[in-house]
Structure formats: C-alpha cells, structure tokens
C-alpha cells in the first residue's frame, strides 16, 4: 500500500508539471490551430529568470512576478516578430516558425543566463509530508494547486469573458470572427501573452522539483505536448487529465514493471488512445474548419 501510494504521489507530482505545460498549449491552439513548440521555453524563462533574480537578492514572490512578466514580453515579441509577419500562412508553417523560435530562445538563454543547472528553494520547506508510509513534498501540492488554479482561470476566461469568447470565435472561424468585429491579430497576441504567463508560472512552481537549465524547454515541450494530445489538444480539462495520466503511467510503469522502459509505456498509452480516439480523451469539442 505504501509502495502504491508512493508511486501515485510521484506520478501526480510529475503529472502536475506536465499538466501545467499542457495548459499553456491550449490557448494558442484555440486561437490559431498552432501548436506552439516554444511553450516549453516559456517554462524555462520562468524558472531561470526567477533563479537569477532571486540570486541577486530579489524576494522570491517578486522575482517570480518579474519572471512571469518577462515571459509575457517574450511571448508578445514572439507573436509580433515571428508570427504576425507570417499571418495568413498555414498552421504548419507557423508551427515550424515556433520550432525556430524555440531554438533561438534557447540560444539566447545560454548567453543571458548560463549553461548550468539551477534550483530554487521549495516554497514551504523540504520536509516531506508522510501519508500511510509514503511521502509527498509540499512543493508537489504547490504544483498541483497551481495546475488547478490555472485550469479554473483558463476555463472561466474562455467561457465567461468576452475576450475568451473572442478567442473561441477566432478559432471557430477567423473570417467570421473578423466580420463581427473581432480583431483577430490582437486576439492571437493575447493568446501568446497569456500562454507565456502560464508557461512561466509552471516554470516557477516546478523548478524546486525539476531543477532548470537553458535547454529544459525541449523536454517540457515534448512531455506537455504528449499530455495535451492524450487529453485532447485545445481542451483545458484534457490538458490536466492528460498531464496527470501521463505522469501516473510513467510512475506506475517504472515502479511495477521496469524503469528501463518507463518512457515506452507512456508513448504506448498515447498511441492506443489516439488510435481509439484520434482527438484525445476530451478533444471532441474542437471545431472542424471547412
């Protein structure tokens, strides 16, 4: 039982990080059908900026806020300088642009920051919480809580605000949205800014657990993308469920079967899901364009 719980805690911790990254994908995807492959790099910017600001003596909460704002600026610049000039291009072209942007961000981060791994102190101490013989770090609760908060905020934003509805309208039919007076370029810029802030928040919350380095974005993008696909690209609920599921599959696979094939299990699970439900677990909501 203790073993089972320990695997579950491990899976939930890792899964919550994946979920937070996956949530970042949803907005831009909803607004433009683009999978932003620089999403993981926002996670890195959030983590690394906080680390470096904190090292210069800035209090942690302030450092985190500045880091998130930095990521938002990078996100807006990414939109303004790379996506906006290519407007009208197909989503595939835009996706390739984001891959290039990701490489660029990584290169700049090597120079602006450095090439070493860094850590942040856990927000509520390192003393593990013991539950029935298994242990959970308080920071895991921060990540889980953060994931939940972002999920709720994102859902409220998309369903309850005018701008959120404008994002969904833009996704449904760009021409139609423009005809009813929605400035789709601004909507896309907002999507990039908010996505960047979600990514950076993930970076701030996860760094005490995962550590961070200039090239962390690559693996974060990959895992977050896998989680988003599993749950259904574009659905906030799918991102959370997909992330947690991916983390749990990895932890139980490593714990009960073999740690050598850990990544194999998650990819097999994703393939099976996508064969049966090509849009992922919660992807039914996505709108078909003609």
């Amino acid at each position: 039982m203790a073993e089972f719980l320990q695997f579950a805690f491990s899976g939930l911790t890792v899964g919550a990080v994946y979920a937070l990254v996956a949530l970042g994908f949803t907005l831009i995807y909803n607004a433009s059908d683009v999978v932003n492959f620089a999403q993981g790099d926002f996670v890195m910017i959030g983590g690394m900026s906080t680390v470096f600001l904190y090292a210069t003596g800035v209090p942690l909460p302030l450092a985190a806020i500045i880091a998130i704002l930095t990521a938002v600026i990078v996100g807006l610049l990414l939109h303004r300088l790379a996506i906006e000039p290519a407007r009208g291009a197909s989503p595939v072209t835009l996706i390739i642009i984001t891959i290039g942007a990701s490489m660029f961000i990584r290169g700049v981060a090597q120079i602006v920051f450095d090439k070493q791994f860094h850590q942040l102190p856990a927000f509520s101490g390192d003393r593990p919480i013991e539950i029935l013989g298994a242990t959970l770090l308080p920071q895991s609760l921060w990540v889980l809580g953060g994931g939940l908060a972002v999920f709720v905020a994102l859902w409220l934003f998309l369903e309850r605000t005018l701008i959120g509805k404008a994002v969904l309208a833009t996704a449904a039919n760009r021409l139609g949205a423009r005809l009813v007076g929605i400035n789709t370029a601004v909507i896309l810029a907002i999507a990039f800014g908010v996505s960047a802030s979600i990514g950076a928040l993930a970076g701030v919350l996860a760094t005490p657990i995962t550590l961070t380095r200039f090239d962390l974005g690559t693996i974060m993008t990959l895992k977050g993308f896998a989680a988003a696909m599993l749950g259904g690209m574009g659905s906030p609920l799918g991102a959370v469920v997909g992330g947690l599921l991916l983390g749990l599959i990895e932890a139980f696979g490593a714990g009960y079967i073999s740690s050598v094939y850990k990544d194999g299990f998650s990819f097999i699970a994703i393939l099976v899901v996508l064969f049966v439900m090509p849009r992922g677990l919660f992807g039914g909501r996505s709108v078909e364009r003609v």
Binding site: E3, Q6, F7, F9, S10, T13, V14, V17, Q110, K115, Q116, F117, H118, Q119, P121, D126, P128, T135, L137, A206, I209, T210, L211, R213, D215, I219, A251, F252, A254, G255, S259, V260, K262, D263
Partner: protein, 388 residues
C-alpha cells in the same frame, strides 16, 4: 607554413590572444594545437570550463615566452555535443589547420567519433572524456586525462567494503556516462565480494526518481546505494532519497564532483560520498600532498579569471594541455610522432587529476588511489581518510 598561418590569422580563425604575445615570440612560427570541444549544447557544462581553461593557459604560456621559443596557437572548434560535427571538425584540424596535436573531445561519444581520424593521420589526441573504452584497447595516438568510470567503481566498492557492507542497490542514469559506469561497476563488483541486490535506472531528463528509489529501498537486505550518473539526475536522486527517508549511505560518482551538485541537491546532500579528483578539495589537501600546489594554483587562477567556481572538468583540460606542452618540450620537436613518443614516456607528471605515469600499455597513467573519497558535510566537501 608562415603563409598559411598569416592567411588563417587574416581569416580570423585563430583563437590566439595576439595582444598578450611578446614581440620575440611573434616572429617565430606558432605551434598549432587543435581542440574540438562541446562548448555549447547539452554537454556545455563540461565543454565550457574546458574551453575557458585552454584559452586561459595558452595565453599564459605565450606571455611567458611560449614553448621551444615559439608561441602556441589554439585552433578551437565547438561541436555542440554532436559526434558527427566533431568528426568533421577533426578532419578539418588535420587537413586544413595541420595541427601537431589535439586536446579535446568533451564527451565519450565525440571522442569515439574523432579517434579514427587522428589514428589514420598519426597525430596525438588527448581526450577529456571519461569512458574506459577510449584507452582500452590502447590506440597508438590516443591518450586521455580523466579517471575511468571503472576506477570510480573500484574506489566506491573499496570504501563500501571497508565500511563492512556487502549488499548494494544500484540506480543509474541511462545517458552514456551512467550506462557505461553501470556496466563497469557490474564488471568489477565481484572482486570486492559485494552483491548488487537492486538495479534500477532513470532517463537523463527525468524529474522524479521516487518510484525507482522506492524499489531500491524495498530490495531485500540493501545496505547502501550507488548512483552512477551525470548532470541534474544525481541531484534529483539525492533529493528524492532524502524525501523517502531511506537513511542508508548514498554514493555518487565523480561525474558530479562539482560545487553545483551540492547547491542543487541542497541539505539532502549531507553525508553523500563520492570519488573525486583532488581539485574539489584543493585547499583541504595536506601540505605534504604533491598535487596541492598545482590544484590550488589552477583553482585560484580559474576563479579569478572567469568568476565561476572551478570544476574538475576544466581540470581535465588543464592536464591535457600541460601534458602536451611537457611532451613537446621533452621531445624538443613539434613532429607529431616525436610528441606521441614523449607523451607515452610521461612519468611523474603532477596534474589536477593525479600524478600521471604513462606506458605503452597505459595511455591514462593514473591509478585508482589518485581518486579521493569525499563526503559532503555542512554543505562542503571533506576528505574521507579511510577506505581504498
């Protein structure tokens, strides 16, 4: 030769700090030393200190009058950790730059890719990578400076045996370093009467190893745990180890013998032991230690010049460059074959990793006892007196 040199200078290919040169040395033909390092990319934390070390010391050697009255010229390429690129650069060093020797090869992967190029061209190659495969079997022109992973295993197992433990749990990274060291540990463990009771692994980018550690913890009779690995993995293993409250002695490898490991692992690192070159404990060595002056001076210079804490990886480059310079002086020649013969005859050379004495059957020249067993206490390294 001088025409080629001036052309290269004109192209800006030269990495020489011309400003620091004495006028007399400038007149002579430079001695060209090649280097291919992973100064960027995933192995940048190794390649970057190596690059800084080489550049810093080439400049210093030149301002002190060079070697054999000629300045050194460092031709340096960055392979970004890519073995294919490394091989291309190696070919360029031989065919275009016509270097007399090479100090470089940050990772085992890039080294293995470049080795045949230097073997075919009969140019000495001093590698800065860890795996034992580089010098076993011995290749005529290939040398290396870091301790092998097999020696790390032997050092760890000797210490475990001295503490009276016989049952070991293994958790290793699946990166090249972790895999190779795991295999070497498996190969030598029998010699120490020690049994591996758990054998787990984790991916190089994993962020949580508690499932694997839970299995190690629950393995029957486990008395101590060894973690062959590299990069951030061992830091996360150490943190998870503390989170689970396993409480058994934990051994890390020389792959994390840098201050940043202690910073990353935090308080969880207390009590962790690992084998390391003397550089990590430079000031703590007894004054009678013949390595002390070398490591203290290198540490001081590196930290002054770069403003970053010294790492054992830069030390490998220090050893490689100085072994080469000593060999050129001894051979009194810059002919690659003469340098090779002099390198192989290296005896009693005091470097940062140990005292090198090479032979036709040993192109590393270090013994297991040049490793120091360290323990982390109060967030700093301390020397462990007992053990192998």
């Amino acid at each position: 030769m001088s025409k080629l040199a001036s052309r290269l200078l004109g192209l800006g290919v030269s990495a020489l700090a011309v400003a620091g040169l004495a006028g007399a040395a400038l007149a002579a033909d430079p001695i060209k030393i090649g280097s291919v390092l992973s100064a960027t990319g995933p192995a940048a934390f190794l390649g970057d200190p190596e690059k800084r070390t080489l550049e810093m010391y080439v400049e210093r050697i030149n301002s002190a009058g060079g070697v054999l009255g000629r300045p050194l010229e460092l031709v340096l390429y960055d392979d970004g950790g890519d073995a294919n690129k490394a091989r291309t650069f190696a070919t360029r060093l031989i065919e275009d730059d016509e270097v007399v020797a090479m100090v470089g090869g940050t990772t085992t992967g890039t080294t293995m890719a470049m080795m045949p190029v230097f073997e075919d061209a009969s140019v000495p190659f001093i590698s800065l990578a860890g795996a034992v495969e580089i010098i076993e079997p011995v290749r005529e022109y290939v040398f290396k400076t870091p301790h092998t992973d097999r020696m790390a295993c032997e050092k760890i197992f000797a210490d475990i045996k001295a503490r009276g433990f016989t049952k070991v749990g293994l958790i290793s990274g699946t990166d090249g370093f972790g895999k190779s060291m795991r295999a070497q540990c498996m190969a030598v463990v029998g010699n120490f009467g020690i049994e591996i009771v758990a054998d787990e692994s984790y991916g190089p980018t994993d962020s949580d190893m508690t499932p694997q550690l839970t299995k190690v913890k629950n393995a029957a009779g486990v008395q101590t745990v060894v973690n062959p690995g590299f990069g951030q993995g061992p830091a996360i293993v150490t943190r998870n180890y503390a989170q689970l409250g396993i409480g058994l002695p934990l051994y890390q490898s020389h792959g994390v013998a840098s201050k940043s490991f202690i910073d990353l692992a935090g308080p969880a690192a207390e009590g962790v032991r690992l084998p390391s070159p003397a550089l990590a404990v430079a000031e703590k060595l007894p004054d009678t230690d013949q390595q002390k002056p070398v490591v203290v001076e290198y540490k001081k210079l590196y930290e002054e010049k770069t403003g970053q804490p010294v790492s054992t990886f830069g030390g490998y480059a220090y050893d490689g460059l100085h072994l080469l310079v000593a060999a050129i002086q001894k051979a009194n020649s810059t002919e690659p074959d003469a340098i090779r013969d002099a390198l192989e005859a290296t005896a009693g050379f005091v470097g940062t990793s140990g005292v090198f004495t090479m032979s036709p059957t040993d192109h590393l020249g270090l013994k297991v006892d040049s490793f120091r067993m360290l323990e982390i206490k109060d967030g700093d390294w301390t020397l462990v007196e007992t053990g192998g």
